[in-house]
Symmetry: C3
Subunit: 139 residues, 3 copies
């Protein structure tokens, strides 16, 4: 069987926002015991990330790293219609994930102990981000 | 149900080639209304990218970025059998995607307004790139 | 139908470890002829990579590249509880893949001639890495 649902994820600007619990709840509600939960973000300036979920410094360091590798306002960017963070947001999205698949075992996503799922907002302004979950498998 | 088909994507050297319409047509032809379309590229010197599809400058800037991060002919490369772009093509592939999953809703891929699917050729010479679509779900 | 199984992949520290044959065997054992093999690694300091499988220099060059882009012991890292390679391991994981989907055709993964699947250990110490395979499709 297959079930599709949508998450609206409001962001308050650049940074990562955990959605693990919302995904686990949707999987539990589906009644599927063995299968796959597909997570898809319908944007090109925000992305998905599976990341260490215990120490917030990990996600801060990831921001620092990305800011150095893909600098806002770099003179190499020609696509700047929406500002200094416009093109960096697209590059950061391309370097990370727009979709993830999580295995479902015993009725929930079989993540490792330290794995959390995050929406990574790459723009400085807040947005409402649209995520589609497609949950398939057997009960 | 599950349907598999193949796309041959001819490239004219380094750059990105949109395949969104061909994917949407294959999904429509499958008759599947709710499910997943899996896209897989059978190469390690070309990759897949979900990218902003409105302003071609975005994809030009992505080329500029990759050329700076993963330079052709860098002395650090030891794998140079096929030339200065051989190893950079493998690195660019590893940093982007070899497979993508797109949610199918109402009989087509539920992409965001600005999302297009591209084959990203990383070699300077043109190639015929082989892409497998596996479309699964319910009618 | 859908079948789930687990691979334990012992590593001897930083480097890539091929698991293509183990995946192909699991797919063959499943009896599924057309479908998808999902590969998921339950860690945030090791990842998955589809890479050229003929010349070992390719994977050595990838290590050299990553060591330059994401340096061990860089003063920008604040998350250093487990040492100089702790945060770089998380960044390398985020820049590569935690899950891969491989198309199954004629009863095996339809990889390209030069494509191999690797667990990429990013820590200097060896670990036992846990990989879940979820194989779905029709016989």
């Amino acid at each position: 069987m297959i079930i599709q649902t949508q998450l609206i994820v409001p962001t308050r600007g650049r940074g990562s926002y955990e959605i693990t619990d919302r995904i686990q709840r949707a999987v539990r509600d589906s009644g599927i015991r063995t299968g796959i939960c597909h997570v898809f973000i319908r944007h090109t300036s925000a992305s998905l990330m599976l990341c260490e979920n215990a120490d917030p410094a990990v996600r801060r360091d990831l921001e620092t790293f990305m800011a150095r590798q893909v600098p806002d306002g770099d003179p190499m960017w020609s696509h700047t219609a929406e500002g200094a963070d416009d093109m960096p947001a697209h590059v950061r999205s391309v370097l990370t994930q727009s979709d993830l698949n999580l295995p479902i075992a015993d009725g929930c996503c079989a993540l490792g102990t330290w794995q959390g799922v995050y929406v990574w907002e790459h723009r400085h302004a807040g947005h409402e981000r649209n995520v589609i979950l497609t949950i398939s498998g057997k009960r």
